[in-house]
């Protein structure tokens, strides 16, 4: 089975890279870009057999994939 995990910065956390991308887009003429936030996106291939795969993946997120001080996450199972 497969899982997708989206990790995004919590509101209020600085995102220097996102700011730079926005500035870059505006200077390239895409004035409509008002804000950019950059997150991470994981595609995971999981072996079957876990009784509660969502719980397992959420645990992985809390422990490793996201730093919950600054990031939040969302899990999608496919």
């Amino acid at each position: 089975m497969r899982a997708r995990v989206y990790v995004t910065l919590k509101p209020g956390v600085h995102d220097p890279a996102g700011k730079a991308v926005q500035g870059g887009l505006v200077s390239m003429g895409y004035d409509e870009v008002r804000g950019v936030r950059i997150g991470k996106f994981f595609e995971m291939e999981l072996a079957d057999g876990e009784s509660d795969p969502r719980a397992r993946v959420e645990e992985m997120c809390r422990k490793l994939l996201a730093n919950t001080v600054i990031e939040s996450f969302r899990v999608e199972l496919l």
Binding site: A20, G23, G24, L25, S27, M28
Partner: protein, 727 residues
């Protein structure tokens, strides 16, 4: 798409594999039968320009490659010179031009990864990196993105590996618009009695594969690097290799750990043309055959076939040959470092390079056919039409042009680049980037190595022989300015299409100029690399022999600097020169960059100057030493003022005196009370006192400029240009 394994060998297939009809005829002749598709792939990379040096080999033989210190010359992964007391320096420079143009970050990063492997393959722990970069015009739409990506890629790889990048160069010319150059250099330290070679030992020895798994990266990269770019070459992009410096750091530590023992008979990195060229080269050096069981190769992707496994350029991999019975030692070390490790074959006695795939033979080629029978060309040469002479330059105010010269992209401050490189990791960097040469100590000894890379395509274009000789002299001069004596040179010959007689002429003349200067200055060429076909749509780059020179300084760490302090007397050493403006930055600024002849070199005068500089520095007699090169005397003086201390100098007023790029000269500054000692050490070297440092203006020939303005002109040009747009 990988062609099916049993496709018949059509003319089209042959052509797609970069072999000319003549070369294919030769292949049929030496093999004595039609190759399988897998074998055709193998020939295509082994006989490519990149691996076989078919256009350059006969010329490289003219370089001086021996000397009292040379332990290993060209022919191995890197050259090695003896430093005394059981230490040896192992170094090489290599190009990654085409991959970096296609994917700047990964191309440059994997260039660094490749050169590091060449050095630690020999048993050396890398201690310094350098990078020599060439880009097109600032106003070219691709230049900014290439600069950003390539610098980030070098930083990304070198920093993660923890090897300081201590020197380099970054230059610009319109001829590089469609062909940037990325030459990476690495030097490592190896005990002189524990140098490892890429060889096989006796039949029955086991072949191990270690490092990262093999994927489909860079298939046909070696062939790609040997063909001209043109319309549509962006389509070749998916062959890009992706570097993993973390894996390479583990590979480095694991290899050096295994090298502590005695299990290894031979070791060879997988660079361009991966498993094929590494195994063939090892077999060739060992004079043996080799059997590879391709199904045993660790794979990163599913469904890979022999053709792909043999041609993949996945990074961070090595081949190791050990004696039977030592297998467990290899497994233990590489498993400790969480790296892939597999026994994939053995050394044989029949001189044939064989590959099997689940028991079936898929390739069987005599090793000599792949190596010694590779084509070698003495390509036609023709001197190009003579260049126009440099006209009389009309300039009412040469001094007033200083700010513009300092802001020239070749001269201006490149901190933006080298601040992104960790240049201190390892805690041995004594002289950092920004000086004439870097100086790195060897812990626990009084030995220090000096590093410089220099090339001047402007001069080489005007006269490849004289221009290249001048570069050799300049490298040695730079080393002398940090007190070091040259011990060896590595070169990267970046040229255009060798099938054009004018390009081949440039190449041959450049080799001869290098050879003459290296002989005259006693600098052996111990390693190097050739990169041809640096052309886009028929427009070639300036001929660019990238030179990297290494020097040795023994003694207490020198204190000499490249910037003035107040109260010092400043002298110009060397023949005053004639004010040679042809080929200079100044002439280019006035619109005459392809005119005239480059400045000549006097080896005797150079040598006397270098000897004197080294003596002055070893004696601690001078506070400052700085060589004269791009921009001439006025630029050298201005650069010495960048710490905020100026001075009043008598250095002429005409353009030739101020900006001429004559060779054989350097600036020194010393405390006035040291004058007698300095003059004694200088002996017969022509010396002219120019003035005294102090104050916050630079004055020359009655004209002045605030040192703050000097710093602004020099310091702001490059970052301002980079900030000019986001990509």
């Amino acid at each position: 798409m990988t062609p099916g394994a049993d496709s018949p060998i059509t003319d089209e297939l042959v052509q797609q594999h970069g072999l000319s009809p003549d070369e294919y005829a030769r292949l049929l002749d030496v093999l004595g039968r039609e190759p399988t598709l897998v074998e055709l792939g193998v020939f295509s990379v082994m006989w490519s320009e990149h691996c076989s040096y078919k256009s350059s080999r006969i010329h490289l033989g003219r370089l001086p490659t021996t000397g009292p210190r040379v332990l290993i010359g060209p022919g191995e992964n890197a050259g090695v010179v003896d430093l005394g007391d059981g230490y040896a320096a192992c170094f090489k420079m290599e190009s990654h031009n085409h991959p970096s143009y296609i994917e700047p970050y990964q191309g440059a990063a994997t260039g660094v990864g490749g050169i590091l492997r060449d050095v630690f393959t020999m048993g050396a722990r890398p201690m310094a990196l350098m990078d020599s970069l060439r880009f097109g015009r600032l106003e070219h739409p691709k230049t900014r993105g290439l600069v950003r990506g390539i610098v980030a890629g070098i930083a990304g790889y070198g920093n993660c590996m923890g090897i300081p990048t201590v020197a380099g160069e970054t230059r610009f010319d319109r001829s590089y618009d469609g062909n940037c150059l990325v030459n990476a250099f690495c030097c490592g330290i190896v005990p002189s009695d524990r140098i490892f070679l890429g060889t096989t030992g006796a039949p029955g020895n086991k072949v191990f594969y270690v490092g990262a798994g093999t994927g489909r990266d860079g298939i046909h990269g070696a062939t790609m690097a040997s063909t001209e770019f043109g319309e549509g070459s962006d389509e070749k992009r998916p062959t890009v290799q992706v570097g993993d410096p973390f894996q390479e750091k583990l590979l480095l530590e694991a290899c050096l750990e295994l090298m502590q023992g005695t299990a290894i008979v031979g070791i060879q990195d997988m660079g361009a043309a991966g498993l094929t060229s590494s195994s063939v080269e090892m077999a060739g050096r060992g004079g043996r055959g080799l059997l590879l069981r391709l199904d045993q190769v660790p794979m990163r992707e599913t469904g890979m076939v022999p053709y792909e496994l043999l041609l993949s350029e996945s990074q961070e991999r090595m081949l190791i040959v050990i004696e039977p019975g030592r297998e467990q030692e290899v497994f233990d070390v590489f498993q400790k470092w969480d790296l892939s490790v597999a026994e994939i074959g053995e050394v044989t006695d029949d001189g044939v390079w064989r590959c099997t795939w689940y028991g079936n033979e898929v390739a069987a080629i005599p090793v000599a056919v792949l190596t010694d029978s590779a084509p070698k060309y003495d390509r036609p040469q023709r001197a190009p039409a003579p260049l126009p002479a440099l006209p009389e330059l009309v300039d009412p105010d040469p001094f007033g042009r200083l700010a513009a010269v300092l802001a020239d992209p070749d001269i201006s401050d490149k901190q933006w680049v080298w601040r992104q490189y960790d240049h201190q990791v390892g805690t041995d960097t004594v002289v950092r980037p920004g000086a004439d040469a870097a100086l790195v100590r060897i812990k626990g000894t009084q030995k220090h190595l000096g590093f410089v890379c220099d090339s001047n395509g402007r001069h080489v274009y005007l006269d490849p022989f004289v221009g290249t000789a001048g570069q050799v002299a300049e490298c040695a001069r730079n080393l002398a300015c940090v007190g070091a004596t040259p011990v060896g040179l590595s070169d990267c010959m970046n040229f255009g299409n060798p099938q054009k007689p004018e390009i081949m002429w440039q190449f041959a003349r450049s080799v001869d100029g290098m050879a003459e200067a290296c002989r005259a200055l006693s600098v052996p060429v111990i390693s190097g690399n050739v990169s041809l076909y640096n052309e886009t749509d028929g427009i070639g780059i300036l001929p660019t022999p990238g030179l990297a020179m290494v020097g040795l300084y023994e003694g207490p760490t020198p204190t000499v600097k490249a910037r003035f302090a107040a109260g010092l007397e400043v002298a110009l050493l060397g023949e005053p020169g004639v004010g040679w403006l042809a080929g200079s930055v100044y002439a280019r600024l006035l619109g005459f960059d392809r005119h005239g002849a480059p400045p000549p070199v006097s080896y005797a005068a150079e040598d006397a100057l270098h000897v004197a500089l080294r003596a002055l520095i070893a004696a601690g007699a001078v506070e400052v030493a700085h060589d004269l090169s791009d921009g001439g005397l006025l630029v050298a003086l201005a650069e010495c003022c960048l710490d905020g201390v100026g001075g009043m100098f008598d250095a002429g007023t005409d353009a030739g005196s101020l900006y001429g790029e004559d060779h054989g000269r350097a600036l020194i500054a010393y405390r006035p009370e040291a004058r007698d000692a300095v003059l004694r050490l200088l002996g017969s070297v022509p010396t002219r006192v120019l003035g005294t440092t102090g104050g916050d203006v630079l004055g020359v020939g009655g004209r002045t400029i605030a040192v703050g303005d000097v710093a602004d002109a020099w310091g702001k040009a490059f970052p301002d240009w980079l900030a000019g747009a986001s990509r």
